[in-house]
């Protein structure tokens, strides 16, 4: 039982810090509310889709910004998609970088765009890491016989 309590605390602390540091916002809570016995893996599934989608978009963005003649409409479309999906799962910081990114696209400012690309990649890898840790803790907790509240 001790292990369970420990894990529960770790999970609670980790989750709290994610919100406190602004990596996640309330939309992530919304997703957790959609998870139940009939759909026990819903959050992991959606977040996994987000990971796949984001990685694709980040690749496309890098490619598009490398071109001699940058197609800013295309870049903007990709950023718009990334902003949308990050917003849908509550990945607040990733979503946040997309806003100046779109502005730079409008200004056709290559320096600004490249900087934002670096920033968004950075934020993405941070939140990805932290979410993976979260899911790992949840798995450990379940394996140890415990359960976690789904808000």
């Amino acid at each position: 039982m001790d292990v369970v309590v420990q894990l529960q605390r770790q999970l609670a602390d980790h989750t709290a810090s994610l919100f406190h540091e602004g990596f996640l916002n309330d939309q992530f809570n919304q997703l957790q509310q959609l998870q139940d016995e009939s759909n026990p893996d819903f959050v992991v599934e959606v977040v996994s889709l987000f990971f796949e989608d984001s990685e694709r978009l980040l690749n496309e963005l890098a490619k598009a910004l490398e071109q001699q003649a940058v197609d800013y409409k295309k870049v903007d479309a990709h950023v718009h998609q990334l902003k949308g999906s990050s917003s849908s799962i509550g990945a607040q910081r990733v979503q946040g970088v997309c806003i100046p990114f779109r502005n730079f696209c409008e200004e056709q400012n290559i320096e600004g765009c490249l900087k934002c690309l670096q920033q968004v990649k950075h934020e993405y890898s941070l939140v990805k890491n932290k979410l993976e840790t979260l899911f790992k803790l949840e798995q450990q907790l379940i394996a140890a016989g415990g359960s976690f509240p789904t808000l």
Partner: protein, 233 residues
């Protein structure tokens, strides 16, 4: 436990579940309302599908306006050999920004169709732009939801759908009782237009009386006024 949204069937048809053209076709004999969700984002489709299912809707999710029209049987270019009559759609919820056909264009096509213009269409958008919202409402959209979509937004839709059902069944009730003496007073269904600019003249669209609502419909009861105005970033 969520109550199922019950809708009366406007057309009586028989269908069985099948897979047609890549769509998962749902049996039409269920009591749950059937929503057609349109969004090009895979993540958003998954979320909206779950939001709707957990709110006791049946859901068909497609990734483009074109696919939505195909599903409805409205696509001029591709006429499916199988009729979709049995798959009654009770609500369409669509993203605004989509490559190819936008949600606005989809909305227009639906409202131009004699078969489908009565289906309420709700627009979702990540951008809270008043001119965009107005344009959609003018074109006949029922509601406009600012993304990210939350459970409360879907609940609002569900409440709206249940009121629609109540109007229809009350109106049917009135018709049945018309030849009998009425000993009780019945709630009057006001067909006076709310401040909505809906082009439909159907009385089903008017705000209705329910036991929990005030005795006379106010503009605030109109689904069209219940917009989620969230602050822009």
């Amino acid at each position: 436990m969520e109550r199922n949204v019950v809708v009366s069937r406007r057309r009586k048809t028989e269908t069985t579940a099948a897979k047609i053209d890549g769509f998962d076709v749902l049996p039409a004999d269920s009591e749950e309302a059937h929503v057609l969700a349109v969004d090009d984002s895979l993540v958003d489709r998954k979320v909206i599908e779950r939001l709707l299912k957990i709110s006791s809707f049946k859901v068909t999710a497609v990734d483009s306006g074109r696919r939505a029209l195909q599903f409805l049987g409205l696509d001029e270019e591709k006429t499916s050999s199988v009729g979709f009559d049995g798959l009654k759609v009770d609500l369409i919820i669509t993203d605004y920004c989509m490559p190819g056909m936008t949600g606005y264009e989809l909305l227009k096509k639906i409202k131009e169709s004699s078969n489908f213009r009565e289906i309420p269409v709700v627009i979702m958008s990540s951008e809270n732009i008043l001119t965009r919202i107005d344009r959609c409402l003018e074109e006949g959209a029922e509601d406009f939801i600012v993304k990210p979509v939350k459970l409360a937004d879907v609940k609002r839709l569900k409440d709206y759908m249940m009121r629609e059902v109540r109007i229809e069944s009350e109106s049917n009730m009135n018709k049945r009782k018309s030849c009998c003496d009425l000993t009780e007073s019945e709630p009057s269904i006001s067909s006076s237009s709310s401040s909505s600019s809906s082009s439909s003249e159907s009385p089903l669209r008017a705000p209705i009386l329910s036991s929990s609502a005030p005795s006379s419909p106010t503009p605030l009861d109109s689904p069209i006024r219940r917009l989620k105005m969230t602050p822009t970033e």
